[in-house]
């Protein structure tokens, strides 16, 4: 009896991933045909082993966020007519344009969004492209599903054209357009806009704290951060709590559920709360406002489970 094809899927996936580079067709599937544009260079693929050849020491941060592969290419067009078929109707703009496209694929959408937050300046204006995007004069970045996309316009700057290109590219890419659910847990009051940062590992400089997101707050002159850590399960969170409490003076109750303050040699007094697979807390500048928001955060974390 032949095993059904579906059962061979795992093997097939292993074989495909294990290949030295992706098949050309896979790369191109992330690089759609966009009207008026052609791919003038690439696609070129990079793996976790070769990413440093492309972005040097910057590769380490991507690897921390479970980077899987990168597809890089350059799109060009030379048929732009001034004032007509280009956004913004800029009569002085050149007729040629070139955009480099880097598509970083991560293990999942949370990791891709996490890497995006690492490279996003706090308070930057967000663009409704994919889950979220932001742009400068000659570059635009966005995240969609488990893909983190970085565009750079070579030569003369033309932000409207770059944005139009990004929207077309994003529309063709697979994956969720929803931000990670954990962000909903953070209260809005005092929250610094678009300043949340994810940490896949080594959160707060501690090797045992993983899968965290921290959000800075400014309330009545006090600056502090609230954070949420999503453990694999309650045992995972218990282990994190136990190890954290072991490194500094700590008060509080049992490791399975409760609250404590850890005197962290790196980060000062850290307020911790935990229940089930969630660990949340606050760091920097204790104050009544921080306490109030921490309580609210706890209620919202509980709602994530429902």
């Amino acid at each position: 009896m032949k095993r059904p094809w579906a059962e061979q899927g795992a093997l097939l996936a292993v074989l495909c991933v294990a290949a030295t580079s992706q098949a050309g067709s896979e790369k191109e599937s992330l690089l759609p045909k966009i009207d008026g544009w052609k791919i003038s260079d690439g696609p070129t693929g990079y793996t976790p082993e070769t990413l440093f050849e492309y972005i040097d020491g910057g590769a380490d941060a991507f690897l921390q966020f479970d980077f899987e592969d990168l597809t890089a290419a350059t799109y060009t067009r030379d048929d732009l007519r001034r004032g007509k078929n280009r956004p913004g109707h800029d009569a002085t703009a050149p007729t040629k344009a070139e955009i480099s496209v880097d598509i970083y694929r991560h293990k999942n959408a949370v990791r891709a969004f996490g890497m995006y937050t690492q490279e996003r300046a706090a308070g930057t204006t967000s663009l409704p492209i994919g889950i979220e995007g932001h742009a400068g004069a000659d570059h635009l970045q966005f995240v969609v599903g488990r893909l983190y996309v970085k565009l750079v316009q070579m030569g003369p700057k033309d932000p409207p054209l770059l944005r139009q290109f990004a929207e077309k590219l994003a529309a063709s890419l697979p994956g969720t357009r929803e931000a990670p659910a954990v962000l909903k847990a953070f209260p809005e009051r005092g929250k610094r806009v678009r300043a949340e940062k994810f940490a896949a590992r080594d959160f707060l400089g501690q090797s045992f704290l993983h899968d965290a997101v921290a959000v800075p707050y400014e309330v009545e002159g006090a600056s502090f951060r609230l954070f949420v850590v999503e453990g694999k399960d309650s045992a995972d969170v218990s282990t994190m709590v136990k190890r954290y409490r072991a490194i500094g003076k700590s008060d509080g109750g049992a490791n399975s559920e409760g609250a404590a303050t850890v005197k962290d040699p790196l980060n000062g007094g850290v307020a911790l709360r935990w229940k089930g697979r969630w660990l949340w807390g606050a760091v920097d500048h204790p104050c009544p406002e921080r306490q109030s928001l921490l309580d609210e955060l706890g209620q919202r974390v509980a709602a994530l489970e429902r």
Partner: protein, 415 residues
């Protein structure tokens, strides 16, 4: 972190490194006498570094003609987004911080800025790198439209992020060919940055074709420092070592990076490299003035500070840097597996197919061979235990089960 917490950190985390010992005044220009005493050794072969003195002061070396005196262990900041970790590193005795214009799209430099604004300017050494966008990474050559001004523009942005009026070392980032290192407009821009006081010293960084780049930096008579990959796993580490010696002889400062050699021995990240030993290996070379291991946790910082205090590579550590014994892929065809196998499987041929698939990555050849063997549908499934003991140590049953599945994969998917 307030003062009390810093004391706690030192007590809890550092175990005796005195922060004050290395604070203000460390980054002073060394005297000419000191420079003479550090003149590179005639022989390039690494010498064991002298054991650290019992005193609290960790060893420092002079960064070539820059005269900047730095502890042998510095911090690669690219993995750290926690300013408190950088503060702890500085308090623990680290002086030189390495970042780049492009790390985390500038967020890394911004984070460092929040730390450095509270420090005296002579209490740290800051180096950053600027990548020129017209560099073809494949060839290492700059395109015709390369503008040296890009360096100045990016450096100005970096200085703003860092909150500094100058960096101590400015590197031309990621060079891999002589021509790139000698590019006229780039060289002029780097010289201008130094002349304008925006960089005390200029350098070049490389992690590909390092010997060529290092020698090009010497020839250019422009650069003060080279930042190079250097680790025990490089196949060409002897060539890198020789080029480093020549550069040090010519008066260049040498900063080593990627000393941790990938952190793990294996792709699956199950077998970690001895980080302490790997760092010590690089620092054995007296021509390496400092190394910039990246770290993002308190434990890693502690490990690096232990190396800073005692860089001597002991025998056990040396042995730990020998590659783990691997079973490998090659079947020697001794046929001792054939008799014990109850299924009478053609094991040597199956091992050969396994080698084609996983070592040569030629899955088509592996499948062709498999299809010739007339195997049962599910080989090995009928035996509770495997009686075969391979002379090479292969896990025969696991390999047979793994490779046999390749028969069912459509040919067009085999790449």
């Amino acid at each position: 972190m307030n003062k009390v917490e810093r004391r706690d950190f030192l007590r809890l985390g550092m175990g005796g490194i005195a922060a004050g010992a290395l604070s203000a005044g460390c980054a002073t220009m060394a005297s000419s006498q000191e420079r003479k005493t550090l003149s590179p050794a005639a022989t390039p072969a690494p010498q064991p570094a002298p054991a650290a003195p019992a005193a609290m002061e960790p060893p420092r070396r002079i960064l070539g003609r820059t005269g900047i005196k730095v502890p042998t262990v510095s911090m690669g900041v690219m993995n750290a987004d926690n300013p408190n970790l950088v503060r702890a590193a500085l308090d623990g005795g680290i002086l030189l911080l390495d970042t780049a214009h492009g790390y985390q799209d500038g967020r890394n430099e911004e984070m460092l800025g929040t730390v450095l604004r509270d420090r005296k300017r002579d209490a740290f050494v800051l180096e950053t790198k600027v990548f020129v966008s017209t560099l073809d990474r494949k060839t290492g050559l700059f395109s015709k439209d390369t503008r040296g001004e890009e360096i100045e523009e990016k450096l100005d942005i970096s200085l703003k992020r860092l909150g500094l009026d100058h960096v101590d070392i400015l590197y031309l980032h990621a060079q891999s060919a002589r021509e790139g290192v000698h590019h006229e407009s780039i060289c002029k821009a780097l010289e201008k940055a130094k002349r304008d006081g925006k960089a005390r010293a200029i350098g070049v960084s490389t992690h590909k074709n390092e010997p060529e780049v290092i020698r090009a930096a010497v020839e250019a008579k422009l650069y003060d420092v080279v930042l190079t990959s250097y680790n025990f796993r490089q196949d060409h580490h002897l060539q890198v070592q020789q080029a480093i010696a020549e550069a040090a002889q010519a008066g260049l400062g040498i900063v080593a990076m990627k000393t941790q050699a990938g952190v793990f021995w294996d792709k699956e990240k199950t077998s970690p490299i001895n980080m302490k030993a790997a760092l010590k290996w690089a620092l054995r070379d007296p021509n390496v003035h400092t190394a910039i291991p990246g770290f993002s946790t308190l434990e890693q910082l502690q490990t690096d500070l232990e190396v800073l205090r005692n860089p001597t590579l002991i025998e056990d550590e040396k042995r730990s840097l020998e590659a783990p014994k691997v079973v490998g892929f090659f079947c020697q065809g001794c046929d001792q597996c054939l008799e014990p196998c109850l299924q009478k499987l053609p094991i040597p041929e199956l091992m050969r197919s396994f080698m084609y698939a996983h070592a040569y990555r030629n899955r088509q050849a592996a499948q062709s061979l498999l299809l010739e063997l007339g195997l049962p549908e599910f080989p090995c499934d009928d035996c509770d235990t495997c009686a075969v003991r391979c002379a090479k140590g292969f896990d025969v049953r696991q390999r047979v089960r793994d490779i046999a599945r390749l028969r069912a994969v459509p040919r067009e998917f085999l790449i």
